[in-house]
Structure formats: structure tokens, C-alpha cells
């Protein structure tokens, strides 16, 4: 028994070291005074300073943020509808096709999704820009939201809704006043997921964006292709820090709500 617990600890240590070492190195070297990536030239925040002067990068960050906020909102609304339909509408006509279309984008190579949406916009003669990226990201995001919320709805006790209806609520009222509040954490998680997918995406955005709607990942990508620079390390560190903060808040609140449930 002792031996196996040692092996398990080693597996955990190795696995998490593999997951986190690259990120940690990236963060550490963003504070490197030297421009050479592998040589430690002392601690410095100079690359963060030079970021502030990079207007293009800041403009792109702003565009990315707006796209992510809007597309995640759309994805959450439409995706939650899809999840409700899958979880509560029984065997409606076209269910298989519907759920296939929900699950497919989760594994669909991004190049195909991006290309097909671009060709749609061209065929409909829609100029590419902010809104085309929003639609593209919302389409991908809604599938993730649908899967996350659907999973939660399946674990919810149906008898809660039945009790609400027994007490006089209409099916819609039961859904709004009992089911959705209980599924709220998963809907929020779905929104966060759709937001992250959007603000991360480079491939689909490259296909569907137009002049003036270059997103932050696209900007980073074009620079990374040219080589490693400390500025990119600094941008990455800021993004990682933001995600870490959001995650920490999310985890802490969920831990606290768990604790209060137990009391």
C-alpha cells in the first residue's frame, strides 16, 4: 500500500510538472532584463512598460475583449436553449441530427469551421469584421455551453420540477423558477468557457475577421511566427494572470457555496 501511494505521488508530481513548467518558465522569463530568451539578465519589468506603448496591441486586446463578451453572451443564451431542448423535450423530431450538430464542433478541426463560415459570409456578401467573428465564436461557444448545461440538467432531480408543477407552476414557470436557478452555476461556467474559447481563438478569427478587427491572438500569432520576443512573454503573463484570477475567484466561490450547503 505504501509503495503504490509513492508511485501515485510521483505520477501526480510528474504530470503537473509537465503541465505547469512551460507556463512557469514563460512567466519567469517575462521578467528577464535580457532580450535573449535563454540568458537570465536580471529582474526587470521593462517589457511590460514597452507593452503600454504598443497601441496596436492594446487596440487588438480591446477588440478581442468585446468580441469575447458579446459572443459568449449569445453562445450562452442559444446554448442553454439547446441544452434545455436536449434534456427536457424528450424524443423530438430531428433529435439525432440536432445533437450531432451540438457535439460535432467540439472536435471539429478549427480550420474547417473557420473556412466554412468564411465561405458562408462571402456567399451572403456580408462584409467581414467585428460581427462575423462574433457569430463564428458564438457558434462554437454555444455547443460547449450546451454540453456543459445539458450535463448539469441531467443530474438535476426531475421531481423538483414536478413538485413545482404540482404546486401550480406551468412547465415554463417551473423551468424558469426552479431548473434554471439550480443550473445557474453551469450556465455561468458555460459563459466563462465560451468567453475563453473566443478570446483564445486564432484560427477561426483569422478566417472570419476583416480589416480593423484583428484580434489579440491574431496579433500575437503574427509576432510569434517571426520569433520569440520578451514582449510576447509579458502579454502572455498578463493573460495567464487574468485567467488565474478568474479561476481562483470561481474556485473559491464554489468552495464557499459547497461549504454553506454542508452546514
Amino acid at each position: 500500500m505504501k509503495q503504490s501511494s509513492f508511485v501515485r505521488s510521483a505520477a501526480l508530481l510528474f504530470g503537473f510538472a509537465f503541465l505547469y513548467a512551460p507556463i512557469a518558465l514563460l512567466v519567469i522569463y517575462s521578467f528577464n532584463a535580457s532580450r535573449l530568451v535563454t540568458v537570465w539578465g536580471g529582474f526587470s519589468t521593462r517589457w511590460y512598460g514597452s507593452l503600454l506603448e504598443n497601441d496596436q496591441l492594446i487596440a487588438s486586446a480591446w477588440i478581442s475583449l468585446r468580441i469575447a463578451l458579446v459572443s459568449a453572451l449569445i453562445a450562452t443564451i442559444v446554448g442553454t436553449c439547446a441544452a434545455i431542448a436536449l434534456a427536457r423535450f424528450g424524443r423530438f423530431r430531428g433529435r439525432l441530427a440536432f445533437s450531432s450538430m451540438i457535439y460535432a464542433p467540439l472536435v471539429m478541426p478549427e480550420v474547417i469551421t473557420g473556412l466554412s463560415l468564411l465561405l458562408l459570409f462571402v456567399a451572403l456578401d456580408i462584409p467581414r469584421g467585428f460581427w462575423t467573428v462574433v457569430v463564428a465564436h458564438a457558434t462554437l461557444g454555444m455547443c460547449f455551453v450546451a454540453v456543459v448545461v445539458h450535463a448539469r440538467l441531467l443530474t438535476l432531480d426531475r421531481s423538483l420540477e414536478e413538485a413545482a408543477m404540482d404546486l401550480g407552476a406551468t412547465p415554463g414557470g417551473a423551468l424558469l423558477r426552479v431548473t434554471l436557478p439550480l443550473a445557474a452555476p453551469s450556465i455561468l461556467a458555460g459563459y466563462a468557457l465560451a468567453f475563453i474559447l473566443s478570446i483564445d481563438d486564432v484560427v477561426i478569427a483569422s478566417f472570419t475577421s476583416g480589416p480593423g478587427s484583428t484580434t489579440l491572438p491574431m496579433r500575437i500569432y503574427s509576432q510569434v511566427r517571426l520569433g520569440v520576443t520578451p514582449e510576447i512573454n509579458a502579454v502572455s503573463t498578463i493573460l495567464i494572470g487574468m485567467v488565474a484570477l478568474i479561476l481562483a475567484v470561481g474556485v473559491l466561490t464554489s468552495l464557499r457555496s459547497d461549504a454553506s450547503v454542508r452546514d
Binding site: 501526480l12 530568451v37 450538430m101 468552495l255
Partner: protein, 299 residues
């Protein structure tokens, strides 16, 4: 089952239906259509075989459908090579991802109840940070003058730098790293939900811990292995960012080919044909994946 649904219900079902129809299904039909068009030096860079509003004339034009793009794919061995190389790299990466993920997922699932949620968050957290940034981090590590070589050289383990960057190996490392959470999660779920008394029963019936693992834990985690492998394998085949950033000039992957045809060569019909053939390749594993997902969540 009610015969008629209320307006609200129809809206709830209709909104995602219409959205997916317009922004998921129809775009694919357009891809197919354009793959059958002629390349042209124009904007858009293809001559449509038929346009919306052609009506009955469209049927006439069916004769003019061009298989030129597909013929181009068949003629040039480079495309076949790219497809095969994508499948190979995706398969190798999936195998390595499984090898790295299984011990991790197993150790997580067997950790104490207090630790499990923390470990779970730790395993998922990298997925929430930018994919691009995580791939980028490996450039710094794998380059000839990068951190890995630096460390190995100064430890005296190697005498000259390893050329990992800009190679297929770097692509495999990148895929394993980026897709690891997708493998860990289904594995963790498949292992953690096994009742612990099954292992006790196996031990009680004379199975050593190793025997119990192979006869009980491993077969019962098979659905997780299948789901995890498909979650890695399918998107990895069409991966673009990783081969583009970590691969060498000779690293052939079909996602990158599609990108180059589209953005650099501006050959939309060929890019579309590449996409159609890729999709055809993916239909079988995707059907497997969807079936496994729907089996997981019965309605």
C-alpha cells in the same frame, strides 16, 4: 408526449436549430459547392458554378460542375502525403497523450476526497489559459538555443544541442501538451466513478493490486480511454497552430496545407476540396465520438 408544443418551447428548440442550420450545416454545403468550382483570379477567387437565385438554371449548370480541385488533390502526391502524415502524427500524439494522462488521471482519481477537487482544477486550469500561449511557451524551451538544451548542456548530459524544434517530434510534444486536459478529464471520470469496493472485492477474491488493476480498473476505464483518444485524435488531425509554430518546413499536416492553399495561394476551391476530404476522413471517428458521448448522457 404532448402533440403540440407551446410557443415558448418552439422558440427554445427553434433558436439553436436555426442557428446551427445557418452557421454550421449550410456553411458545409457551401464548402462542398465551392470545392466543385473553378479557381479564378478574382475576388472572390473562384468562379461559382451556380449562385443563389439561379433557380432551374442551376440544374442546367450541374453539368459544368468541376472536379478540377479534386483532380488536383489526386494528382499531387503531396496532398496524400499530408493526409497520411496528419493521421500518423495525430495517432502518435494520441498514444503519447494517453501514456502521460493515464497515470496522472489514475493518481488523481485515487487521491483523497479532500484533494480531488483541487487536483481537478489544477488539471483543467491550463486548458483555460491561451492555447496559443501554451504552444508558444514550448518554442522557448525546444529551440536549439532554448531552455531545454541550455539545461542539458550545462548538466553535461549532452555535448551538442538537440534539434527538436522545427521537427515532427516538436509537433508531437506540442499536441501532447496542449491536448492533455482533454485526455485527463474523461479518464479521471471513468476511473473515479468506479466504486472502490470493486477493487476490494477483487483483492478479497485473491487478485493482487496489479492483477486487480488489469482485470477491473483498466477494462472499466475503457470508455474514458476511447472518449479521451477521440477528443485528442480528431482535432489533432486538422491542427494548424502547433505544426505551424513548432513543426519544421517539412512537417506536413493537412490543416496547415489548407491554410496555405487558402491564405497564401488564394486557391479557394482547392482549400475547400482539402476540407471536404478531411471531413470525409473524420466522419467515422466523429461518429464514434458522438456515439460515445450520447451513450454517456442518455436522455
Amino acid at each position: 408526449m404532448k402533440a403540440r408544443r407551446s410557443l415558448a418551447e418552439r422558440l427554445v428548440l427553434g433558436a439553436p436549430w436555426v442557428w446551427l442550420l445557418v452557421f454550421f450545416l449550410i456553411p458545409f454545403l457551401i464548402v462542398v459547392k465551392i470545392s466543385l468550382s473553378q479557381a479564378a483570379l478574382a475576388q472572390p477567387p473562384y468562379a461559382p458554378v451556380f449562385a443563389l437565385g439561379d433557380g432551374w438554371e442551376a440544374l442546367e449548370k450541374l453539368k459544368e460542375l468541376s472536379l478540377a480541385a479534386y483532380a488536383g488533390l489526386a494528382d499531387d502526391w503531396l496532398y496524400a502525403e499530408a493526409y497520411l502524415s496528419s493521421l500518423r502524427l495525430a495517432a502518435v500524439s494520441t498514444a503519447f497523450t494517453l501514456a502521460v494522462a493515464y497515470p496522472l488521471a489514475y493518481a488523481m482519481a485515487r487521491a483523497s476526497h479532500r484533494w480531488r477537487p483541487i487536483l481537478l482544477v489544477l488539471a483543467i486550469a491550463p486548458f483555460w489559459t491561451s492555447f496559443l500561449i501554451r504552444v508558444y511557451a514550448w518554442i522557448t524551451i525546444l529551440k536549439d538555443e532554448g531552455l531545454l538544451n541550455h539545461a542539458l548542456l550545462s548538466l553535461g548530459l549532452i555535448s551538442e544541442p538537440l534539434h527538436i524544434f522545427a521537427s515532427d517530434e516538436a509537433v508531437v510534444i506540442g499536441i501532447v501538451y496542449s491536448y492533455l486536459p482533454f485526455m485527463v478529464l474523461p479518464l479521471y471520470n471513468a476511473i473515479a466513478r468506479q466504486p472502490p469496493d470493486l477493487l476490494e472485492a477483487a483483492a478479497d477474491l485473491g487478485a493482487s493490486p496489479t492483477a486487480a488493476f488489469w482485470r477491473i480498473t483498466a477494462p472499466l476505464s475503457a470508455p474514458g480511454v476511447v472518449a479521451g483518444c477521440l477528443l485528442v485524435f480528431i482535432p489533432a488531425i486538422g491542427e494548424f497552430v502547433i505544426p505551424d509554430l513548432l513543426g519544421g518546413s517539412d512537417t506536413l499536416m493537412i490543416g496547415r496545407t489548407l491554410w496555405i492553399e487558402f491564405f497564401d495561394n488564394r486557391d479557394w476551391p482547392t482549400a475547400s476540396a482539402v476540407a471536404v476530404v478531411l471531413l470525409a476522413l473524420l466522419v467515422v471517428p466523429m461518429a464514434f465520438y458522438e456515439r460515445s458521448q450520447m451513450a454517456e448522457t442518455p436522455s
